[in-house]
Point group: C2
Chain length 367, copies 2
Amino acid sequence: MDRRALLGRAGGAATLAAGAATIAAPAIAQTAQPTLRWRLTSSYPKSLDCIYGAGEVFARVVSELTDDRFQIRVFAAGEIAPPLQALDAVQTGSVECCHTTSFLYTGKNEAFGFATGLPFGLNTRQQNAWMYEGGGIELMNEVHRKFNVYGMPLGATGAQMGGWFRKAMGPASDLNGLKMRIGGLAGQVLSRLGGVPQQLGAADLYPGLERGTIDAAEWLGPYDDEKLGFVRVAPFYHYPAWWEGGASTYFYVNLDQWNALPKSYQAAIRAGCAEATHWMVARYDIRNPDSLRRLVAQGAKLTPFSRDMLDTCLRTWLDIEKELVARNPDFAKVHESWSKHRDDMRIWHRVAELPFDNYVAQASARR
Amino acid sequence: MDRRALLGRAGGAATLAAGAATIAAPAIAQTAQPTLRWRLTSSYPKSLDCIYGAGEVFARVVSELTDDRFQIRVFAAGEIAPPLQALDAVQTGSVECCHTTSFLYTGKNEAFGFATGLPFGLNTRQQNAWMYEGGGIELMNEVHRKFNVYGMPLGATGAQMGGWFRKAMGPASDLNGLKMRIGGLAGQVLSRLGGVPQQLGAADLYPGLERGTIDAAEWLGPYDDEKLGFVRVAPFYHYPAWWEGGASTYFYVNLDQWNALPKSYQAAIRAGCAEATHWMVARYDIRNPDSLRRLVAQGAKLTPFSRDMLDTCLRTWLDIEKELVARNPDFAKVHESWSKHRDDMRIWHRVAELPFDNYVAQASARR
């Protein structure tokens, strides 16, 4: 590095005020940090370069921050652990960390759902707010501790599409008998309305729709959905996904491994997660529009869910939410914080955020 | 640190797969990184703990990531540089870096406006997307290079309130003769509609409104506005701020200083900015609702801007936008990328994001 440039501008056009920057002699005795080689198991296939890629961005940032001393190698779904069992691999310690969707684990404890997003819940902004400043990360880690992991958000998708259907959906009664890939707690809504929820990884969705072993599948949004090819086998493309207002994906690390890390490596993990979250949301927002155009050109029948569908699913979900609060103390504890901030932020966003968004959306549609 | 815990779980309940994690002996010969002490001048007063605090969060993260070797001391507005001249101090090298609002510098080059947000432009999500994955950071740095600085987003406010007025605003003709603190390019809209824009720091707003030397002031949103006491002297609280869909605040570093940093310190700055941005948006979203309630209880007259006000300001702004594209090649170059992504993201957000937000907003208002 150029010591002169650090002390003052080359060429002397300006000089730093005395004492503004000082460089000590390279500190030979500085704390030596360990060299670590970790593995991260992703729940996503390599072909989905946004959601899988967020894990790689995370690992790159951690490596840059530590001068390559802390290196985390990312493995795609199935390489070292099955996509729906990433958490289990981290819990037992067979892999140090993972990048996954927490709602995959609501079968272990429904409270995992909050870390992805609940049906008719928070949007991406609100989820981040609750996580970072509303106590969400800490509350979730009280639950995670029971599974010997420590976690934080790593990535988010934004609001999603409602998925691909072999037949057009009208009223909520059309869900009766529907076999649909739908993740997490939203599956309980589908069940209660007579449907059959399926929990499948990304790679199993296209063959299922093609063979008709499932009637519908929700994955994410246009950019991923285009790669997965759903338009060819289930052309009815409904929106919006009511099952989360914007799914967060999550980083879990084995709790013992986390506790043993030097503080600066813990800071590098937090920073890597923060940067990867910005990156993933941004990349989907930049890439979804062109994919959406192409999907429509390829025959996707873009249709909003009916009002009856949304109202019926909302009512059904609110019943389930209440039952979970009554039945699961972990869910109830997190819900108390989450629902207060949900209600507060909705009021605030109705004043400033939504009127701005709706005005410019309407004005640009008029032009 | 606990070497044993890093190698395998204490108690032997689980062991890491062979080769999953390895620790080399502490690397005595590892690259020694320099000890740096920098100063950051903030454009914000210490009392505004979200916007000023984002600079402190940034500095804390950089310090944690570098084991305290890279320390950045944050100075409030006016302590080492005036709030509206933070960029100048960094440009000349009298201070290494700053946290400021880029629209304060549109008098030097209108293209600075893009780094905060243009009137009727992007919301917070869209601004981040354009910055991180739409080429915004790189395009802006082509402009910034002419001022001998390198920059990136450090914080964002979310959509803002339209400010505090001594008299209620009806049609756009009410702007005629209005002396208003309003930042950046939005001031040109006000001028063209017969008003008198003023560029003032936060500390000068309350006395100006109290003495009547200004008739109105926009600052940010309920949490800051409550601290600044505007409700007592200008109770009409209009919304939304049409002058930006969500202002980003910016980090600038002297270009020579930036180029001379070791790669891991550059990475620490990027990571610090990313974490502070999540933090600032989250903190405002969590704190604004209670402040809004208190302000209304204290007599704030919460009123949306009229349709005529928004439509007239939009038309006026689009004329100015066109003129700037024709007149300023830097503005034109950035605008080409920005406007493409603006239009694309608006289409996409009209499909998934806004229908979700509007549905839950309406449904929760019904209950």
